[in-house]
């Protein structure tokens, strides 16, 4: 995957006094970084500090103008018995685990099938299979909502083969299954593409040597394909776990957390921590409580990322 460098680099005019070689510290670097740093302060750090602040207040619809500091009250409410934290966390972890397993697993299996040396028409499948990635998520999730409608096309097709389909989005477990299916449909093309790139980067000679040694299909997979592919995508798996943990977009767009966990409950059966926090802000207007949930999400997600960077050395500076 070498970068193509066409011709010689364009030579800047002049060529007069050569600048001293750049060593020591380049102060000018901070100028190049300034826009990103200012942006991070305005759009991330300030809102975050404000969020931490309101997590310790009773800021809500009923205390909109004059909210006050309430200490750990919001966290006490979250961890109190019957608060919804445990069931919501339970589904969040299930969602994270199943989504990651399916998204990565299906992508990987498809990549291995596509990589079969005698599959001459592989590009046809690859192009068609990548389409979900190329379509706008926001529109296609809505199309899926129509497909899963009780009288929608999926149940129509099921009834044609004699199966009475459930009212997908109105019942807890079918709604959860629907969410995981839609998330899989949206995500597998990325993993398929990345795994295929990883597979094609495996040196051919390794397989030739294995052939000479009389290795069978399983041995080739077990000792060449698998270790290479896993090494390449491990960082992506951890990133995917962290992403799915806080992925509220699909949930908000498809089910909005519905159906309710029980009649009159504040949280839904398909609410993840993130979609519940969103709901607390936009439907229930409990900003302080929502901010406290946000901090919990942040702690979990940043642990994933720190673990990832330590485990893989992904961000470690390679000394030049």
């Amino acid at each position: 995957m070498a970068v193509k460098i066409a011709g010689s680099p364009p030579r800047p005019a002049g060529g007069a006094a050569p600048t001293p070689p750049r060593r020591a510290s380049d102060r000018v670097a901070y100028i190049y970084l300034l826009p990103v740093i200012v942006a991070a302060i305005i759009f991330t750090i300030l809102p975050f500090i404000y969020t931490v602040y309101i997590a310790f207040t009773n800021y809500s619809l009923f205390h909109f103008q004059e909210f006050e500091f309430v200490g750990l009250e919001n966290f006490r409410r979250i961890f109190a018995a019957g608060s919804g934290f445990v069931p919501v966390l339970g589904w969040t972890v299930t969602w994270m685990g199943l989504s990651t397993i399916f998204n990565v697993g299906v992508g990987m299996i498809l990549a291995m099938m596509l990589n079969h040396p005698r599959l001459v028409e592989r590009n046809v499948y690859r192009t068609l299979l990548i389409i979900p990635w190329a379509l706008p998520v926001i529109l296609m999730v809505q199309v899926w909502a129509g497909i899963f409608n009780n009288q929608g096309p999926l149940n129509l097709l099921l009834s044609n083969i004699g199966i009475k389909g459930p009212n997908w989005l109105a019942q807890a477990n079918p709604a959860r299954a629907a969410l995981i299916m839609v998330n899989l449909w949206l995500s597998y093309p990325f993993f398929m593409t990345v795994c295929l790139a990883a597979l094609q980067a495996i040196p051919r000679d390794l397989y030739e040597v294995a052939d000479l040694d009389g290795a069978g299909g399983w041995a080739r997979f077990r000792y060449i394909t698998w270790p290479f592919m896993i090494a390449a995508i491990t960082p992506l798996i951890i990133t995917q776990l962290a992403f799915q943990f806080q992925n509220a977009g699909v949930i908000i767009l498809l089910t909005a957390g519905k159906p309710l966990a029980y009649p009159g409950s504040q949280y839904g059966a398909t609410d993840s921590l993130a979609s519940y926090a969103y709901n607390l802000v936009f439907s229930l207007r409990q900003y302080g409580l929502s901010a406290a949930y946000g901090i919990i999400i942040f702690v979990v997600v940043s642990s994933f990322t720190i673990f990832n960077s330590i485990a893989t050395g992904a961000f470690k500076e390679r000394e030049a």
Binding site: A17, A40, P132, A232, V281, F298, V301, I306
Partner: protein, 297 residues
């Protein structure tokens, strides 16, 4: 590319003499794979086929139907779009996507340049710091804060405000990808240029900028598509439907499954085609940019 097949049977010291030959086994394998792939492809295409089919469905706009293939086909759903805000949404999407994509790419390449080519205090932990900052849960939970800030400076319900958020907010990952990409370009090139008297500024624009184009294109397109797909921030910062970008706008059409569904389908098809075309035109860049950045190629 690892696509060609080399028949290795002949060179094997121990050919599979019992049972099938290597070649026969492989052709059974490939047919099994073919069948599975065809089945999966058909299932995966289902929503796409469905939405295209229903965008042409005549006889009422309802989602409900007794047959999967519509009995009557019409172009009516597409012409009905002229009575909606569809043309505004297209225009808004182009404006918001273009400017925020361009600004984001430019900022990321400046910062990536600093991290890749310069030495300064804080460099080592700078990117990790940026990535951790980006993980702060702003997108979702800090929205009341963002809303208040926008309210205070009077940027609510403004397309410019949305461009500012998408273009300037949150680019740590792109900085990192950009830095990795620049690291893969030989340092000798800019060292040669700087011996010739090029400043950092000239070096960036004349030497590196032309060489990072695959990454620039990839990130611009990701930015563009990202804006197109964003729902949560967009609906909080904008309240006027004529200012919505296409995705959020078209979604408002689907509110009524019983009456407006086929019009929504038509809008979804029209709204998806440009993105699909951009994606496939730029696929080479996307895959190269991704694999280079993500797989540390």
């Amino acid at each position: 590319m690892a696509t060609e097949f080399r028949p290795t049977t002949a060179t094997r010291p121990t050919p599979t003499s019992v049972g099938m030959s290597h070649r026969t086994r492989q052709s059974i394998e490939v047919w099994a794979i073919r069948l599975v792939l065809i089945a999966i492809t058909l299932i995966s295409l289902f929503p796409t086929v469905y939405v295209v089919l229903y965008s042409f469905k005549g006889g009422g706009g309802s989602l409900y139907s007794s047959t999967f293939i519509p009995q009557k086909l019409t172009l009516e759903n597409y012409t009905k779009l002229f009575n909606t805000n569809f043309s505004y949404w297209v225009r808004n999407s182009v404006i918001i996507g273009f400017f925020s994509g361009a600004v984001a790419v430019l900022l990321a390449s400046f910062a990536g340049y600093a991290f890749s080519r310069m030495r300064f205090r804080g460099r080592k932990y700078g990117i990790l710091g940026l990535l951790i900052i980006q993980m702060l849960p702003t997108g979702l939970v800090a929205l009341p804060a963002l809303f208040r800030i926008y309210q205070t400076v009077g940027l609510l319900n403004s397309i410019f405000g949305l461009i500012l958020f998408f273009g300037v907010g949150g680019s740590a990952l792109s900085v990192w990808l950009m830095k990795n990409f620049m690291d893969s370009i030989p340092k000798e090139l800019d060292e040669a240029a700087s011996i010739d008297g090029a400043s950092h500024w000239q070096n960036f624009w004349l030497v590196l900028f032309p060489l990072i184009q695959p990454m620039l294109v990839a990130q611009f397109i990701f930015g563009f598509i990202g804006v197109y797909n964003e729902y949560i921030v967009t609906t909080v910062l904008l309240s006027d439907p004529t200012k919505y970008p296409l995705g959020v706008g078209v979604r408002t059409l689907s509110a009524a499954f019983a009456t407006n569904w086929t019009v929504f389908c038509a809008a979804a098809v029209l709204g998806s085609v440009p993105i699909l075309i951009i994606f496939f035109m730029a696929q080479r860049f996307l895959v190269e940019g991704l694999t280079k950045g993500a797989l540390k190629g």
